[in-house]
Symmetry: C2
Subunit: 416 residues, 2 copies
C-alpha cells in the first residue's frame, strides 16, 4: 500500500474510533487504563525482544540517549503507575458548567467534550507512547502516534499492548494507532490532514517543532524553548530569594523550566549577587553578566546580546542588574520565551504587576520556576507544555485535550 | 513605503499597543468605549462624506448589498448602543480562578489575559469595524482590521473616530488600526505574520474563509457554513415541535443558524410531516425529501445526495425520515457542518444522548436553532462564530479573545 493510502486508512479508522471514544463510559475507559497498567507490568518476551532490537540498533548513540530508549521493569512499573493515576482521576468529558437562564427562556451552558483525533510526533523515549495513549483514552480522544525511528520496535510492541487493553474494555483497538513506518514523509502527511486530525502535539527539539509549526495545516500545541527568568526585586527576603534562585537554576539543568537568566534590582545587587555567586561558583555554574554584574562579581564573564535570549539547558546563567520592576518586565517580555518567569519580592503591588504584565504561560511569585509542570500543578499528567496563547497555555493535561460545546435546554422557545 | 514595510509598521505598532492595552485599567477601557459611542452619535460630515463616496462607488451593487454599506443615523445609534453595552459588561481580564494549594505548598490557579493582537478580515458592512474595535478595547487586545474595498472610505473615517476615542481615554491610538489600502496582498501578509498577529478572525463567504485557513501561518478562528438540523424524535410534543421547526426554518432565511435540514423519526412522520408541510407550503418554502418523505408529501421534490450537505440560506429545506435516534445522530455528524443542531423530544435519555453525541458547536433540546448567537447566549457581543473545536467553539465573545495563564503563589518553595 502507498504511504498516503496507509495514512488515510489510519486517519479514517481514527475518526471512527473517536466517535466511539467520545461516547464511551467512564467505566470502560478506566477498565482499559487498568488493563494497560496490568499488561505493562506483565509484559513478556515480545516487548523485551523489541526493545533489545532498538537498543542494538542504537549502539552508536551516547549513553544518556540509549538510557532513554531502555524499557526495563522499573520504567514499565513507572508508566503503569501513571496509567493507574489517570484511571483514578475524574473524567473530564461530559462536565456541564455555567448553565444560566436567558431572558428568552432557554438555559445556556457549556459541555466539555473531546477534541476528536490528535496526532503526536515525538522522539526517542518509548514511554511517551504510553503517556499519550493513556491521556487519549481518559479524555475520550483517538490518537495517531508517530515515535522516533530509534524506538520503532519498542513502540510497535507497546501499541499492541495498548490495543489489547482497549479491546479488553470493549473499546476500539484503533483509538490509539502507531504509524508503523519510519518514512519521514508520514509526518508531512499527518500534519496536513485536517480531515483526519484535529490537533498536532509535537515533542522534541526546537528545530523539529519550528518545522512542524511552519508546515502544519492543522492547529499545533507547540512548546518551543524555555528561557525562564527569576527576578529579585528591591524589597525581598534575601535568604528566601537565595534558596529559590539556587533551586530554579541548579536543581536540574536540562528541564525547560530551569531558570536561564537572573535579573536583580540595583537596590539588592550588592547584597544578593555575591551570595548567589558563591553558590553558583561552588556548583560550577558559569555566570555571564552585564557590566554592573561583572563589576560586582569577579567570577562573571561579560554577557553578549545573544545570551539574553539563550536557553542554555546547562550550568550557565546570564545575570543582569535592572533599575526598576518596569525594566525587568520589559526585559522578560522582550528576551524571554513566554514559558515561565518568577519574581522574588515582599512587595504586594509589585507581585501583582509582575503576574499581570509578564506575558508568559506561567508567572510566579516567590517560587522556583522548576514548579512549572503538569504534575506539580495538579493536572495528574501532562501531554506537553504549550508556549502558545491559543487554546491551551503552559502544562497541558486532560482538559487541554477537550473543548467546550454550547448546550441549550429549552421548553419549545422560538426566536422573536 | 512598500506594502510589506507598511504592514510591518502596523504590526510593530500593534504589538506595542497590545502591551499597553493588556495593562490598561477597566476604567480607561470603558472611558474609551463610552467616548466611542458618543463620537459615533455625534459623527459629523467627515463620516457622511466618506460613506457617500463608498455608496457612489457601489452603484452597480444590488439593493441589499448597498444597504449593508449605508451608515445612517439609525445604524450609528445601534453600533453606539453596542459600545455602551460592552462598556457595561464585566472586564474579562485579570480574573483569577481555580486557585488550589498543592502538596508542595505553592498555590496554583489561572489568570485570564488578552490574546495579544488579532487580525480581522471582513467584507462590506462597515459596522463590523466598530464591533471589532469595541471588543478589542474591552478585552485588552490590539487589532489590525482589514475591511472590504467597497467600504474603505467609511472604514477609514470610523477608524479615525476609534483612534480619537482611545486617545481621549489615554490609551494608544494604535490599539485599533485599519489597513489603509485595498491591495489584496495585504491580506496575505497579515495572515502570515505570527510575529505581529496571534490569531486571525475572518468574516465572510465560505470561499474567503477556506482560502484564509489554507494559507494562514497563524491560528484562525473560522466560521465555515451552517448546515443546521432540527430532529423530531419519536416521543415529542407535536404542537411545540411544529412551532420550533417553523421558527428555525422560516423566521429568517439568511442567517447561518437557520435550520436547513429536517429529520423526522418514522414513528412521527405521518403525524408531523403533513402539518409542517402545510406551514412551509404557505410560506413558499421548497421541500426536498427522501423517498419516504415524498411518499407522504405530494408537494415535496426528491432530494439528491448533495442536498443533505447544502446550506441553502434560502426558503428551501431538505427532509429525511429516519428509523432511530442513532440514524439521526450519524446523519447529522456526517452531513452537518458542526454548527448548531437541535432535537425535539420529550424523552430524557434521548435528549442527553443527542447533547453528548452530536459533534457540533451548539446542541439544543426543544429550542430553535436560531438561538445560536452571542447575544442570545448572553455573551453581550460576538466577534464571530467558530465551527472549530480548538480554542473557541460557537459564538465567540470577549472570553474567546482571551487566554488563561498559570499563576503560582509561593512562600519561597523550592522543588525537591
Amino acid at each position: 500500500m502507498s504511504l498516503p493510502a496507509y495514512m488515510d486508512d489510519l486517519g479514517r479508522a481514527a475518526r471512527a474510533a473517536a466517535t466511539a471514544m467520545a461516547a464511551a463510559s467512564t467505566a470502560a475507559k478506566n477498565i482499559a487504563l487498568l488493563a494497560l497498567a496490568r499488561r505493562l507490568r506483565e509484559a513478556g518476551p515480545a516487548l523485551a525482544e523489541a526493545n533489545a532490537r532498538d537498543l542494538a540498533g542504537a549502539a552508536e548513540l551516547s549513553g544518556p540517549l540509549r538510557d532513554r530508549l531502555k524499557l526495563d521493569a522499573k520504567t514499565l512499573a513507572t508508566v503503569a503507575e501513571g496509567c493507574e493515576q489517570i484511571a483514578a482521576m475524574p473524567d473530564p468529558v461530559g462536565e456541564i458548567t455555567g448553565v444560566k437562564r436567558r431572558p428568552s427562556g432557554i438555559s445556556v451552558g457549556q459541555m466539555r467534550v473531546p477534541l476528536g483525533v490528535f496526532g503526536m510526533i515525538y522522539e526517542s523515549r518509548p514511554n511517551v507512547t504510553i503517556e499519550a495513549a493513556s491521556l487519549a483514552i481518559k479524555s475520550g480522544n483517538a490518537c495517531i502516534l508517530r515515535g522516533g525511528s530509534e524506538a520503532i520496535h519498542s513502540n510497535l510492541a507497546l501499541a499492541e499492548i495498548v490495543a489489547a487493553s482497549l479491546e479488553e474494555a470493549g473499546l476500539p483497538r484503533t483509538a490509539v494507532q502507531l504509524v508503523n513506518t519510519t518514512d519521514r514523509a508520514a509526518v508531512g502527511l499527518l500534519i496536513s490532514s485536517p480531515q483526519w486530525v484535529d490537533v498536532i502535539i509535537p515533542r522534541g527539539g526546537k528545530g523539529l517543532i519550528e518545522r512542524i509549526s511552519a508546515e502544519a495545516k492543522v492547529p499545533v500545541i507547540k512548546h518551543l524553548d524555555g528561557n525562564c527568568h527569576s527576578y529579585v526585586d528591591a524589597e525581598v527576603d534575601l535568604e528566601q530569594a537565595l534558596r529559590v534562585v539556587d533551586n530554579a537554576k541548579t536543581q536540574k539543568y536540562s528541564p525547560c523550566n530551569a531558570t536561564e537568566s537572573l535579573l536583580v534590582h540595583a537596590a539588592q545587587a550588592r547584597a544578593f549577587l555575591p551570595l548567589i555567586a558563591e553558590i553558583f561558583h561552588a556548583k560550577g555554574v558559569e555566570m555571564r553578566g552585564c557590566g554592573r554584574t561583572c563589576a560586582l562579581l569577579p567570577a562573571a564573564v561579560p554577557a553578549t546580546e545573544e545570551d539574553w535570549s539563550t536557553e542554555y539547558l546547562a550550568p550557565i546563567i546570564s545575570i543582569k542588574v535592572v533599575d526598576s520592576l518596569d525594566e525587568a518586565i520589559v526585559h522578560i517580555n522582550r528576551y524571554g520565551s513566554h514559558h515561565t518567569d518568577a519574581i522574588l519580592t515582599t512587595n504586594h503591588p509589585n507581585a501583582m504587576r509582575f503576574l499581570r504584565e509578564v506575558d508568559s504561560a506561567s508567572v510566579m511569585v516567590n517560587a522556583s520556576t522548576r514548579f512549572a509542570d503538569g504534575f506539580e500543578y495538579g493536572l495528574g499528567a501532562e501531554i506537553g507544555i504549550s508556549t502558545d496563547k491559543f487554546h491551551a497555555r503552559g502544562p497541558v493535561g486532560l482538559e487541554g485535550l477537550t473543548s467546550m460545546k454550547w448546550v441549550v435546554l429549552g421548553q419549545g422557545e422560538v426566536r422573536g
